[in-house]
């Protein structure tokens, strides 16, 4: 400002200033560390203390992780390997015993699934990503793949449980009946009536007809793959199965519950509030016990209802109650003007929900929705308390083996890493999605 003159008030700039480089100490790594790590004495002390702690932690952890016990076949052999390598501290041999992971990792992944059929869950898992791709990355993947996404829910259980190919086809036929009914009847008897009739027709098909049709078709053309009973399911495969199905079902159910809770219709509203509050007020373990034991009491004698299916239903209901509240938060965050904007254009309730309200409410709720997903996926380990062999359930049976009795850290560490990969993946995806959907340019 050397060209301002203190003695006069009037000022006219005669030369415009050119753009200049910022001072060197504010850019690059130096500038970054100065603003983020060493601003003032307090931050400098904190930075130094944290660095020391991290170095100390790695100093302790890395030698334990790098232990030459990969080929050991028992805990005792691990100790011998460690002693031979001279890794003896004051508390005896120190170092992880990785032999248990080498010997049992496949069991931690697949439980007691028949070894010659491992390709089936692997294929189902790979196809899962193919089916998810058009949903998760709708801007990069061709929309035609959505056809496969619609087939996948029927393919997935068939690949895992096996059996005749006619059962997934008959299950899918029920949905065909449902949609065809709504599509063609709504012009004849009105929308609401056609929905009710179609739902009843589809339910009748599933409950009474499809079983017989399925048997008949199977006797004519016996196309089947070897069936695997639910008790052989286990490990990460079980967790992923329960997690994926419950996640996929809890989101739509949660949306319906959230809309129901905000509805003006008293009965709908009280049903939804009652359901949400009841489910949220009860621990998941209680619901799982109900699924595993009590449900059989209420069922007509002789009906057998697959235990994994029962657990999936309970996990879905549990997650959907939380989901409903997360989505309700998103709905409440939308300004009233969005509803009025949609109304003033003549959109009806479902159109405005689908096109205007939900896309925005779901976008706002992404962090909460993904948190619920992650929580649900981790909660699948609770099924070990009702005797299903998820990874945590399997650790008990591995420790029951004489050779590995007493091993803890390595097993839990391995399982933790497996879960972390999935949960971290979901969390990163949610951040990607938030970025992609950012249109407000704040």
């Amino acid at each position: 400002m050397s060209d301002t003159h203190a003695e006069t008030v009037a000022f006219v700039r005669d030369t415009m200033l050119p753009q200049q480089e910022p001072p060197a100490s504010t850019v690059g790594f130096l500038g970054w560390s100065k603003t983020n790590l060493f601003t003032g004495p307090f931050n400098t002390i904190v930075t130094v203390l944290c660095s020391v702690f991290i170095v100390w932690l790695l100093w302790m952890l890395i030698p334990w992780l790098l232990s030459p016990t990969w080929n050991a076949t028992s805990l005792g052999e691990c100790r011998e390997f460690l002693v031979a390598a001279g890794r003896v501290g004051e508390h005896g041999a120190s170092g992880a015993c990785w032999g248990v992971i080498r010997e049992r990792w496949i069991q931690l992944l697949f439980g007691f699934y028949p070894a010659d059929l491992y390709w089936r869950p692997i294929l189902a898992f790979v196809l899962l990503f193919v089916a998810l791709a058009p949903v998760l990355f709708s801007d990069k993947v061709p929309g035609r793949l959505l056809m496969f996404t619609m087939i996948y829910p029927f393919l997935f259980p068939w690949l895992l449980w096996g059996g005749t190919i006619w059962s997934p086809i008959c299950a899918a036929l029920g949905f065909v009946i449902l949609f065809a009914g709504v599509k063609y009847l709504s012009g004849v008897i009105g929308q609401l009536a056609s929905i009710i009739v179609s739902v009843l027709a589809a339910a009748a098909w599933w409950l009474f007809v499809s079983g017989a049709v399925q048997d008949a078709l199977a006797s004519i053309l016996p196309l089947a793959i070897q069936s695997v009973p639910s008790r052989d399911f286990g490990g990460m495969m079980l967790s992923i199965t329960i997690g994926v199905v419950a996640i996929a079902c809890s989101l739509p159910l949660g949306i319906v519950l959230a809309l129901g809770r905000r509805s003006d219709l008293l009965i709908v509203k009280s049903l939804c509030v009652g359901f949400i509050e009841f489910i949220r007020g009860v621990p998941l373990i209680t619901l799982l016990f109900v699924a595993s034991t009590l449900l059989n009491i209420f069922m007509p004698p002789g009906t057998s209802f697959d235990i994994i299916l029962r657990v999936i239903i309970m996990a879905t209901l549990f997650a959907s109650a939380y989901m409903a509240e997360v989505i309700r938060g998103g709905l409440a965050a939308l300004p009233k003007g969005q509803y009025e904007g949609a109304d003033s254009l003549g959109l009806d309730y479902w159109q405005s929900q689908r096109l205007i309200i939900m896309p925005q409410a779901l976008k706002i709720s992404i962090p909460g929705i993904v948190s619920t997903f992650i929580g649900l996926f981790k909660d699948t380990t609770l099924v070990s308390v009702i005797g299903l062999l998820d990874p945590l359930g399997l650790t008990n049976s591995i420790r029951a083996d004489q050779a590995w009795n007493g091993i803890v850290w390595e097993l839990y560490g391995f399982i933790a890493v497996l879960f972390f990969i999935f949960c971290f993946g979901m969390s990163r995806y949610s951040m990607y999605l938030e970025n992609r959907l950012k249109t407000d340019h704040r």
């Binding site: 003007g337 969005q338 904007g341 003549g346 959109l347 096109l355 925005q360 249109t439 407000d440 340019h441």
Partner: protein
């Protein structure tokens, strides 16, 4: 305070298309509305003929917004009768959606859909309500975006536009439904002075084409130049209505005189 009744445009307004016909567009008879126990609209009687340009003025809380929001049922009235384009507003959802698709509305805060582009904002309702093919809807949308002079912003999101541009998009969005009546609820109240002019210009052009307009606004210059009738409301009632010339130069009621002296800052 600036004189808000100063002319809003320097150019000559083309009045050749501005014709008030005998056909009734909106008829409100003895309409009453309560918020809980608060009597917000009292005995409203109003007949709007096709081609009329009506400005509704009044202090805040006088019920002017509520009144025009009753016309497309964003607010529900409890007594009396509202007939829009020959269809009476009842709780029948079919009638309501029919009227809403024929009556365009612009809001103070635009209420554009932030997750859709400008073009998608304009084509959404024609595609889903009128069942117009996408290509045709896009052509119509571009036509109206050109009319409000922002076709080059079509692929941007509302958040990237200025307030004035957003309000013009909102007008274009309403026009895409080919409405026969347009309601404006304080369309310029949230805008900077420079942007007010661009929005008012768009509204003037709309008036020149003979659109039936009901406009709640504090822009007295617009009322003087464009309106054929000015309505003054206070305490939920229509206090005075007249042609703009008479209304501004020769107000009858004491309440109107007070209001005008305050708003015009004489």
């Amino acid at each position: 305070m600036t004189d808000t009744s100063a002319a809003v445009t320097d150019r000559e307004i083309d009045r050749s298309q501005m014709k008030v016909s005998d056909e009734v567009a909106i008829e409100i008879v003895n309409m009453n509305k309560w918020y809980g126990t608060f009597h917000v609209l009292r005995d409203i009687n109003l007949t709007v003929n096709r081609g009329e340009r009506i400005v509704i003025a009044g202090p805040s809380g006088s019920g002017k917004s509520t009144m025009i929001r009753c016309i497309n049922r964003l607010e529900e009235h409890q007594q009396g009768k509202i007939v829009v384009d020959g269809t009476e507003l009842t709780s029948d959802l079919k009638n309501i959606d029919k009227i809403r698709s024929e009556v365009g509305m612009c809001f103070q805060h635009f209420n554009l859909f932030p997750h859709l582009t400008i073009l998608e904002n304009c084509t959404l309702a024609p595609i889903w309500v009128r069942k117009v093919p996408k290509k045709e809807a896009e052509a119509t949308a571009m036509h109206f975006l050109e009319k409000v002079k922002i076709p080059d912003q079509a692929l941007k999101y509302p958040g990237q536009l200025s307030g004035g541009q957003q309000q013009r998009v909102a007008i274009a969005r309403s026009l895409c439904m080919k409405p026969r009546i347009m309601l404006f609820d304080e369309p310029t109240s949230a805008l900077d002075p420079e942007m007010i002019k661009e929005v008012l210009d768009t509204m003037i052009e709309l008036a020149e084409e003979g659109m039936t307009m009901l406009c709640v606004t504090h822009e007295m210059g617009f009322a003087r130049q464009v309106a054929n009738r000015v309505i003054f409301m206070d305490q939920g009632q229509i206090v005075e209505q007249n042609e703009p010339e008479e209304f501004f130069n020769n107000p009858k009621s004491e309440r109107t005189k007070l209001f005008l002296s305050q708003i015009l800052g004489h």
